[in-house]
């Protein structure tokens, strides 16, 4: 903590800003260290909470991103957070670190895409789009992968639960936000993301009558973080 005594407006002795924040270059080192140490993304607020008083993590982040531009590891934005991830072109070096994941079925991949592009989406809506009933197990699988979670209940009769994608989903697929989903703009312009389920326009898809988790924990207050 460096105290700059040449500050034009000398603060009151008991003013906390008397202890000026460290120089920006130092703040950049700090966020660099924190992001390197963490496997999970950190938000600027989380970083600031650990930094000395008066730091501006977002400003330091601008410097850090520039510094790692084109490097072997990159500063990646993931939803509200930031994380270092290796550059995608160097994946071939990391054969030993490769995570062997069970291959998702085509149906599960499709369901995931529907949730990502239509979120928040109810199970009935997923079934409407896919034209078949969606097994509870498939959504469970996506939840287990931490790519999907419960969103807010819909304010429609029966107050059905909805599904949304998670920060882990963005991280896995290398997306900054859900706005960066491939082809999102085109799909929207083509009207393909509008809910257009009109009664009587098609054969009804019968759900299997299973109830989707009737009790969601009440605190989904921060679910908006991923979507604006």
């Amino acid at each position: 903590m460096t105290e700059t005594s040449t500050e034009p407006d000398a603060p009151e002795p008991d003013d906390p800003s008397l202890f000026l924040a460290p120089p920006l270059a130092e703040q950049e080192r700090m966020i660099e260290a924190m992001l390197f140490a963490s496997a999970a993304p950190l938000s600027t607020a989380e970083m600031e909470a650990r930094m000395p008083h008066g730091c501006d993590a977002a400003e330091a982040m601008v410097l850090l991103r520039k510094r790692f531009d084109g490097r072997g590891v990159q500063v990646t934005r993931i939803g509200n957070g930031w994380a270092f991830r290796t550059a995608p072109d160097l994946g071939f070096l990391m054969s030993r670190e490769k995570v062997e994941t069970r291959k998702l079925s085509r149906a599960a991949m499709e369901t995931l895409a529907i949730i990502a592009y239509h979120q928040p989406v109810t199970r009935a809506e997923i079934e409407e789009i896919r034209g078949v009933s969606v097994s509870r197990g498939m959504i469970d699988q996506l939840i287990e992968l931490e790519w999907v979670r419960f969103g807010r209940r819909k304010m429609t009769p029966g107050r059905p639960v909805t599904f949304v994608v998670t920060e882990g989903f963005l991280d896995h697929f290398g997306l900054e936000t859900t706005r960066d989903l491939p082809g999102l703009k085109e799909l929207r312009e083509a009207g393909l993301l509008e809910a257009r389920a009109v009664e009587g326009l098609g054969p009804l898809i019968q759900g299997d009558g299973e109830d989707d988790a009737p009790d969601i924990p009440a605190d989904d207050s921060n679910q908006d973080e991923l979507f604006e």
Binding site: R106, D171, H172, G174, L201, P203, I205
Partner: protein
């Protein structure tokens, strides 16, 4: 809608193309289990029209679907109910599209129904494509990697103890008034146990042919100190009851507070 038929699609394929189409449809029938429901089947059939999904002929598609179902029936392939529901609905749609509209009929027109089905197919196709694009991205754990040795964030828990003056004074008050009601504690030195009393009595009862005062069985060293005497009396009485229970002695008392007397049983 029929005018958007891709008439030229198979033009230069000739017979060969026809054979290939037939093979394709046979393959579809065999692979029925691979379909994710009727919409998926329609989408696959629609692709054989070799046009953009937005330009698909729903009438032709309905016919394709119905003939597919017909073939499947001929081959005695069991079809799930939703495939049959779709078939019935498409047959209805087909009649709506072919017959002149009935002015008295309520509800959506054939064209509206067809447009919605086209929309559903296009949307499903788009989602399928989106899924493919999504999974083709640089994925974590395959193309991009996280820090292999993350450093744990340690949480230093600091416990701050507090107390108020009231609590301090209450604690002191509690202590200073404790003496008045110190808990009763057993003083082992001044207690004659029932077992001890029993032992000394067993040796004596053989001589108790006549009624004798129970107190005479209290050991001499327990008689002088009132406290010790009280304890020994209780123990001796309890021991006497044990001997009665065992059938060794009899007890009697003439009246309340009168001396308790003891005598050996005659066997």
């Amino acid at each position: 809608m029929n005018d958007e038929q891709p008439a030229a699609a198979n033009a230069n394929d000739g017979d060969w193309g026809a054979i290939r189409d037939r093979q394709a449809s046979e393959a579809l029938i065999v692979d029925l289990d691979g379909f994710e429901g009727p919409l998926d089947l329609l989408l696959t059939l629609g692709r054989t029209q070799k046009v953009d999904l937005t330009k698909i002929s729903i009438l032709e598609l309905a016919e394709q679907y119905l003939s597919f179902i017909e073939e499947a029936r001929k081959l005695r392939i069991e079809l799930a109910a939703d495939y049959l529901v779709m078939a019935a609905w498409l047959a209805f749609l087909k009649s709506r599209l072919l017959l002149p509209p009935d002015p008295s009929d309520e509800g959506p027109s054939g064209e509206e129904l067809a447009a919605h089905l086209a929309f559903q197919l296009e949307r499903l196709g788009a989602m399928r494509e989106a899924a493919a694009k999504l999974f083709a991205r640089d994925r974590l754990g395959r193309d991009r990697f996280v820090r292999g040795a993350p450093e744990a964030l340690t949480t230093a828990r600091q416990i701050e103890l507090t107390g108020s003056l009231i609590e301090l004074m209450q604690a002191y008050a509690r202590l200073r008034t404790r003496d008045d009601f110190r808990p009763y504690s057993l003083d082992r030195d001044n207690v004659l146990t029932m077992e001890e009393a029993l032992d000394s009595m067993r040796g004596l009862i053989g001589y108790a042919g006549d009624w004798t005062d129970l107190t005479s069985y209290i050991p001499a060293e327990w008689r002088t100190d009132p406290g010790r005497r009280r304890a020994a009396t209780a123990a001796t009485f309890a021991a006497a009851l044990e001997l009665v229970k065992a059938g060794r002695v009899m007890l009697r008392q003439d009246e309340t507070f009168a001396p308790i007397e003891l005598r050996r049983t005659d066997d």
